[in-house]
């Protein structure tokens, strides 16, 4: 179908077929795709572009999974491996909260970490309880589906019971990580140890059914084709039709190890991760996404995922420049100030490790949008 026909279809409120989305990916006309995506975004969210003041904590980088695209994880005992105790986690949050005293402060903490071989389910329950005890107002967004699956195996509880226990201990919502790409063959090449796409979706459905809102991600720009991207988004759209539990979709551009930064770190990383180079999956700098592809993917997500309220341009992954441009291509959220982010930066992301509130506001305004500081459920926070 031609791009103009697809445009008409979108504007008449009809749902795009996977073929339509594929045609958009194959189209060279980024201006039309972007313009229509922006229009749809404005119909859904006005000129609002959301951001949040949040804090990331990665309790440990020790992980039994060791995905091949991940530069963050370590094995136990390996150089650079670390683990934070609950006390340390609470203390870290306290220091950050202190810095924000007198303002609304950061209202959300985002906690994801490795699958630690020794820690029991009780550790995570206690971590949530301790955080909530010390910071009752703070929204705790934590644990990807991969971690939830691991907890369920650790505890011997059903998915539903695992989630309910976590929720009762203080879990408010879940991020969308670990989705990667659902296609089994590609997934098997990039992260064979990780839960399957079907399992990821099952966990998200269970979370939604337990009343826990989540996000959804897609890691693209590695070995997948456009068809795989569309297939991935289709699965998300179907689940969202059933549960309505997804808040935002976040396309994540794969970071190949290019640029000077990573080349510097390369020797170190090769030593630290002997599995990487021996595998069939070799990150190739020329395989990384282009800025044009990043913007197109945002725009197509906005058009195809007609039941998602928010499309997030995660600036840590995209870089603040592409993330800003994404606001004109259908995205309505830049995520947050993100104090302390480790996972993407271990893979050599060139973005700074934090943006100030004023920098975020400037990026949004220069994109012609209205900055809205939000809480974890996209309610405006009084400035």
């Amino acid at each position: 179908m031609s791009i103009n026909k697809i445009e008409k279809k979108v504007l008449s409120g009809k749902r795009l077929l996977p073929e339509d989305a594929l045609a958009l990916f194959q189209s060279d006309d980024i201006f039309t795709v972007g313009r229509v995506a922006n229009l749809i975004s404005e119909i859904r969210n006005g000129k609002n572009a959301y951001f949040i003041q949040n804090h990331h904590i990665n309790p440990t980088n020790i992980c039994v999974n060791r995905c091949k695209f991940c530069a963050f994880s370590r094995s136990k005992g390996e150089k650079g491996a670390y683990e934070l105790s609950i006390k340390e986690i609470v203390k870290k949050l306290g220091t950050k909260a202190q810095r924000h005293k007198g303002t609304e402060g950061f209202s959300e903490v985002h906690i994801v970490g490795g699958l630690h071989p020794d820690r029991q389910f009780d550790f995570y329950i206690e971590m949530l309880e301790q955080i909530k005890k010390r910071f009752p107002q703070m929204h705790v967004k934590a644990f990807t589906a991969v971690e939830i699956d691991y907890f369920s195996r650790l505890s011997g509880l059903s998915l539903a019971d695992t989630l309910i226990e976590l929720k009762n201990a203080g879990l408010d919502s879940m991020p969308g990580g670990g989705a990667e790409i659902f296609d089994a063959r590609v997934r098997n090449s990039i992260c064979p140890e990780k839960i399957s796409g079907t399992r990821w979706l099952q966990i998200m459905e269970a979370a939604h059914n337990a009343g826990i809102k989540t996000n959804a991600t897609m890691l693209y720009g590695h070995l997948e084709t456009y068809r795989h991207r569309v297939g991935h988004m289709l699965k998300l759209r179907e689940l969202q039709d059933r549960t309505g539990g997804f808040q935002a979709f976040i396309p994540l551009a794969f970071h190949p190890m290019n640029t000077e930064l990573s080349r510097k770190a390369k020797g170190k990383r090769q030593k630290a991760k002997p599995g990487l180079m021996g595998s069939g999956f070799k990150p190739d700098p020329t395989r990384g996404t282009s800025g044009i592809d990043d913007l197109k993917t945002i725009a197509i997500a906005r058009l195809f995922l007609d039941n998602f309220q928010h499309i997030k341009a995660y600036w840590v992954m995209l870089g603040e420049k592409i993330a800003q441009l994404a606001l004109m291509f259908g995205a309505d959220d830049l995520d947050g100030t993100i104090i302390e982010e480790k996972i993407t930066h271990s893979a050599g992301a060139l973005s700074g490790s934090a943006l100030t509130r004023s920098q975020l506001i400037n990026l949004i305004e220069k994109a012609g949008k209205v900055p809205v500081e939000r809480d974890s459920f996209y309610r405006p926070v009084k400035g």
Partner: protein
């Protein structure tokens, strides 16, 4: 295609929808360069000295003559740098430095002759402020100076030192640097004696949209007269380690204290913040549309990074500039996107274009896979 008036350009710069502007610039680019090729040049920036009496407020590179970090590059180092450049497939060196009070025209003539007698390399060198300084010190006219340099081996002149061609702004950000008229005069004289040059623009400091239009218009007018500009290269001010960057930081605090609201978000006056990617693409796209007589437009990956530079290829740019085997001036302002030739060709390809190595005249030397 009809030519854009200044007034129309100003309106577009201030209020056009960015995607709409990009779509027009993309069409213009396609018309001028229908082959889908994006060119680049393999060259090296060699800065023969960092001593400069101009001390521009946006510059993080210059040093005083008595600074422990002051240097003048010796011949051995210079020749080695050129050898390395040629070994990497380079065809050109860009020689620029500061206005060093101890270096006279003889120094430059010797420099050029010593290079040209040893290496088959294109020398792109000495921006207008340097040329004027040489002329003034030697008591010669600009034309005489250029002829001397050309005879000694200078091939073409880089478009640096243009900053913003608006004296109102130059008085504030580079009060000791040559004014708009002299910059244009050097370029005109160079074109007249058969030398090609480029033109640059540094925006995103304290200029207004009107100043940007004044700049573009000056370039277009001169190009109508001479046709000597091969390319236009806009890039955005990088504030770190510069006097101006620090000042605007102070200004930002002050404005906040007075409860100043971020109102004029759509104007380009960046007293509060330097240019964002959206500002950059806006200026780039408008440049493509306004400068209908300048054949090539460069994307500045050095200041923007590779991904935004790829996007720039759809907002009017058709060239990726230099591979920058060495770059010191922007790096001094804290921005370092060092990349390899493979990174450049890979970026061009994944943006949907065919990479090709070119010379200074935009002749294609080698198609790249």
């Amino acid at each position: 295609m009809k030519r854009l008036s200044r007034k129309e350009a100003l309106t577009l710069l201030k209020s056009a929808d960015l995607l709409g502007l990009g779509a027009i610039a993309d069409k213009v680019r396609r018309k001028l360069h229908p082959e889908g090729v994006v060119t680049f040049i393999i060259d090296r920036n060699i800065n023969y000295t960092n001593v400069c009496i101009n001390k521009c407020k946006f510059c993080a590179f210059y040093r005083d003559e008595d600074s422990p970090e002051a240097y003048v590059l010796g011949n051995r180092k210079l020749f080695n740098k050129i050898k390395e450049t040629i070994a990497l497939g380079g065809t050109q060196i860009l020689i620029q430095g500061g206005l060093h009070p101890e270096l006279g025209i003889e120094y430059y003539v010797d420099l050029l002759k010593s290079i040209k007698s040893r290496f088959p390399v294109h020398v792109h060198g000495f921006s207008p402020p340097e040329v004027c300084y040489m002329a003034d010190k030697a008591g010669r006219s600009i034309k005489q100076t250029l002829e001397t340099l050309k005879e000694a081996g200078l091939d073409s002149i880089p478009g640096g030192g243009a900053e913003i061609l608006s004296d109102r702004i130059r008085e504030q950000i580079s009060p000791k640097k040559i004014g708009k008229d002299r910059w244009l005069e050097v370029m005109e004289q160079a074109h007249r004696i058969g030398m090609k040059t480029t033109a640059t623009m540094m925006f995103g400091s304290i200029e207004t949209p009107e100043d940007i239009i004044e700049h573009l218009d000056a370039i277009r007018r001169l190009q109508d007269k001479t046709g000597g500009f091969t390319a236009f290269i806009p890039w955005s001010f990088q504030p770190l380690n510069t006097e101006l960057g620090v000042k605007s930081e102070e200004l930002r605090v002050k404005k906040r204290q007075r409860n100043f609201k971020l109102q004029n978000s759509r104007t380009l006056n960046s007293e509060l913040h330097t240019a964002t990617a959206a500002d950059y693409l806006r200026v780039l796209a408008l440049s493509r549309i306004y400068l209908d007589n300048v054949p090539n437009l460069q994307a500045s990956w050095v200041t923007q990074g590779l991904k935004p530079a790829q996007v720039a290829l759809r907002f009017g740019a058709n060239d990726f500039g230099s591979t920058m085997i060495e770059e010191n001036v922007v790096a001094a302002a804290g921005v370092k996107y060092r990349v390899s030739i493979e990174d450049i060709t890979g970026a061009i390809r994944s943006a949907g274009f065919k990479p090709a190595q070119r010379d200074m005249y935009y002749n294609i030397i080698k198609k790249r896979r």
